[in-house]
């Protein structure tokens, strides 16, 4: 198709949608032209996901109108959206893990059975867009990048006019992201439109020709991102200038306080990663970053560090004493604090009040039990202290954890762990899904903690974050950890290459 100049494909106007306590979309209007790659940017909780779910028919708007190809439409369900020519790649993939690639693709296409003809079309389409696939493998064997390929191919087989991609690069290495962009440009050249949702501004600037910025459920700007700087976009997105967190100079080096020596853990279930001979050491005052794509052993490593999985006695050492065989309580008594990946259900009990959640790990090292009974007064005081010190925005400490936003809950959990005065703090994905203001606070508190002489281990997928706050970085791939590098000496691209190494190799030998 030749340049279909400025012909609108879909336009939304006056879209409103409320959830209990939030107006997720407040009079939102948005137009996407044919053949255009349109960026939709905004913070977590800005209303982007709700808006695309409305476009895809999985959420009904309270009010507003949608015009598609000149006709006013009511997109009541995803099946209708697909008939219109709207396809979507979800942030949390909508794949069925124990089923084969072919079955998964068939499920995404109306009336299609998983037969040889479909397999042929799948492989052919994959080759055309530079995304090779093996139709007979089950999804649980695939890496995150491969899974995304399946999602995209499933969409392309529907021959869509509009392809919605919800945060597609959040799980990819920089190199994988670049490869994805090549594919997306190819798709756009065919006259298809793409709605690209991201909170990574550089990517939007590199890929999109127009963009819509959302904040607090509203559209705050429409602009050509190529003509904006990352800073101006960030200001639009966040609504204020945010202070950057600076990595502190390494205060005291000294002998390592937290050492991991030849840690080996078998895969807990089929499809999980086994940890193979992992070693690293962190000194007081140091922030150590572990980078890597999800599914390469992060969850297994975190469990082994916290004591939820036990290992050989000598594999974990705190202050020279071995504790690999100990459970979480004994390790906490040695001064290890831990902030897990899942806030709701792991780091906090959703239907417990904040006070009761303060007790969860607080009672192990703080005197919150008196004559065999829970000391409610002291527990409440502790919870109040967390709330005040870490700016946790909740009506009171009797608010249920499940009612807090991601950022506030993360501040609460991090606050609880830091106020227990750990000598070692292990933090998983500290700012994942957290709004920018909370992210700044969280990062600066981690830096402060290190300055007081604690050793901090940060496991994260967010390379920018690790480059910003950690002193040294290692990369976790397929359950093995690379040697550590001083952060000052590496770039995101170099780390990306390391992250890909095993991942890509794995694919090469099985494909």
């Amino acid at each position: 198709m030749s340049t279909p100049d400025k012909q609108p494909l879909i336009s939304l106007s006056g879209i409103c949608r409320s959830y209990p306590g939030v107006l997720a979309n407040d009079n939102v209007s948005l137009t996407i032209n044919k053949g255009e790659i349109h960026g939709l940017i905004g913070e977590n909780g800005a209303g982007k996901s709700t808006l695309v779910k409305i476009m895809y028919g999985s959420v009904r708007p309270d009010s507003g109108r949608i015009v598609f190809n000149g006709d006013e439409v009511s997109i009541d369900n995803p099946a209708f959206a697909r008939r219109l020519g709207i396809a979507m790649v979800f942030q949390h993939f909508s794949l069925f893990e124990p089923m084969t690639v072919l079955e998964n693709v068939a499920l995404g296409l109306a009336g299609q059975s998983a037969d040889a003809a479909l397999a042929g079309r799948l492989v052919e389409t994959g080759e055309r867009y530079g995304m090779p696939v093996d139709a007979d493998r089950t999804v649980d064997e695939l890496s995150v990048g491969e899974r995304q390929r399946i999602e995209i191919l499933r969409c392309l087989l529907q021959d869509p006019e509009l392809l919605i991609m919800d945060e597609p690069t959040s799980v990819l290495t920089p190199q994988e992201s670049n490869a994805l962009f090549v594919t997306l440009r190819k798709i756009a050249e065919e006259g298809r439109s793409i709605l690209f949702i991201s909170h990574k501004l550089d990517e939007v600037r590199a890929l999109c020709e127009t963009s819509t910025v959302m904040r607090g459920g509203k559209v705050v700007a429409q602009c050509d991102p190529r003509e904006e700087s990352a800073a101006t976009l960030a200001k639009l997105m966040v609504g204020e200038d945010l202070a950057e967190v600076e990595r502190p100079p390494r205060s005291a080096s000294g002998a390592p306080i937290f050492e991991i020596n030849d840690l080996n853990v078998p895969a807990p279930y089929p499809g999980a990663s086994a940890l193979q001979s992992i070693s690293f050491a962190v000194s007081p005052g140091e922030i150590f970053g572990v980078a890597g794509v999800a599914g390469n052993g992060q969850a297994e490593l975190l469990a082994a560090l916290s004591g939820e999985t036990r290992s050989a006695r000598s594999s974990v050492t705190v202050n020279g004493e071995s504790c690999g065989h100990e459970g979480p309580r004994a390790r906490r008594s040695r001064g290890i604090g831990f902030v897990p990946e899942d806030r709701l259900g792991h780091g906090a009990v959703p239907d417990f009040a904040l006070t009761e959640n303060a007790f969860l790990t607080g009672h192990i090292t703080e005197p919150l039990i008196r004559s065999a009974m829970i000391d409610h007064a002291r527990t409440r005081t502790f919870a109040e202290k967390i709330r005040a010190t870490f700016d946790v925005r909740a009506a009171s400490v009797e608010t249920l954890a499940g009612q807090l936003s991601g950022g506030n809950l993360q501040k609460f959990i991090l606050g609880r762990e830091i106020l227990l005065n750990p000598r070692v703090l292990v933090v998983a994905h500290p700012t994942w899904g957290v709004d920018a203001g909370a992210a700044v606070l969280i990062r600066s508190r981690l830096v402060e903690l290190a300055q007081t002489g604690a050793a901090v281990v940060v496991v994260s997928q967010d390379l920018d974050e690790l480059l910003q706050i950690s002193h040294r970085i290692s990369v976790l791939t397929s359950g093995t950890l690379s040697g550590s590098m001083a952060t000052a000496d590496v770039t995101a691209e170099e780390l990306g290459l390391l992250m890909m190494e095993t991942d890509g190799g794995q694919y090469a030998h099985t494909a």
Partner: protein
């Protein structure tokens, strides 16, 4: 000796058939991601419904159809609770069982002691005359053939049809299936109704063929054993067949030991099927990874369309 053996094997078939119906139905329900612990209640309601319908109409076919209908009706109450009102599946299933046992006893009180001409064996022409094999395989009542047919039908449906693929997808991840636009609630509703109808037929087999009479609480835990069979079979129809016949074997062995005049109390022998269920569960569940690999991932979880906001 062969005569005794053949007679014994034939009784195994009839002891296994109700388990097979009920377990196959529950397998489909669980494959869709729903755990219905009400099998026992639906089964015992099927037993009285089949018995009552046959007694009133004089038609065995109507009896079976009535049992299937009542089983499905019971299941629809459960389905409404867990799918529309999003009630806890375990508790709702228990409620269904308690209610079914009570209601069947209430409705059935006037049928206690009434005789019934049960289902007759249907000899398959040509084949039933074969020595040994003929009596063993080709001379059963029509429900036995139906149960075997259902094994193949369920297998074919789940593994070879698009509808089966969708049903499995719903059971694996209802959020993903919803995101793709599949009507999770309706698919599960249909699966639950099928499970109810199958449990109803299983009950009808008890009151119309196995022991053609009605007595209170006559399913005697078979609904629960059927639930265990689904786990035993790691959610595969052909293994349900094996499991059901194995359990039929245990039940019959127990009867024959009593008949053979061996001096063991009948009460102690009657424990065998229940103890066997426990043993089988332990053996299968020991390998946690295998159960986890085969169990539908959404099993027992409540689905709400905004669940993945």
């Amino acid at each position: 000796m062969t005569d005794v053996l053949i007679a014994m094997l034939i009784t195994i078939v009839s002891a296994a058939t109700p388990l097979l119906f009920a377990a196959l139905g529950e397998l489909v329900v669980e494959k869709s991601g729903v755990l219905n612990l009400g099998v026992e209640g639906m089964m015992v309601m099927g037993a009285i419904a089949g018995f009552a319908a046959t007694t009133h109409s004089g038609s065995l076919a109507l009896g079976v159809a009535g049992a299937a209908f009542i089983g499905a009706l019971m299941a629809s109450v459960f389905a409404f609770l867990v799918l529309v009102l999003m009630a806890n599946q375990v508790a709702s299933g228990l409620a269904l069982t308690l209610f079914g046992i009570g209601l069947s006893a209430l409705v059935g009180s006037s049928f206690v002691g009434t005789p019934l001409d049960g289902l007759d064996p249907v000899a398959i022409p040509g084949l039933s005359g074969l020595p040994v094999i003929g009596r063993l395989l080709f001379n059963h009542d029509v429900l036995v053939y139906l149960s075997l047919g259902m094994v193949l039908a369920v297998w074919w449906f789940l593994n070879r049809t698009r509808a089966g693929l969708i049903l499995r997808a719903v059971g694996e991840s209802h959020d993903s299936a919803h995101a793709l636009g599949y009507p999770v609630v309706w698919i599960r509703f249909a699966a639950i109704l099928f499970g109810g109808a199958m449990a109803g037929i299983a009950g009808a087999y008890l009151s119309m063929a196995y022991t053609p009479m009605w007595s209170e609480n006559m399913s005697a835990g078979r609904g629960w054993i059927a639930l265990a069979l689904v786990v035993f079979a790691t959610w595969r129809p052909l293994r349900v067949l094996v499991g059901a016949y194995l359990f039929g074997g245990v039940t019959i062995a127990q009867l024959h030991i009593q008949g053979a005049g061996i001096d063991v109390s009948s009460q102690l022998l009657s424990m065998l099927p229940y103890l066997a269920t426990i043993v089988v569960l332990v053996i299968i569940s020991r390998d946690g990874a295998r159960v986890r690999l085969n169990a539908p991932a959404s099993l027992g979880r409540i689905f709400h369309s905004s669940g993945s906001k």
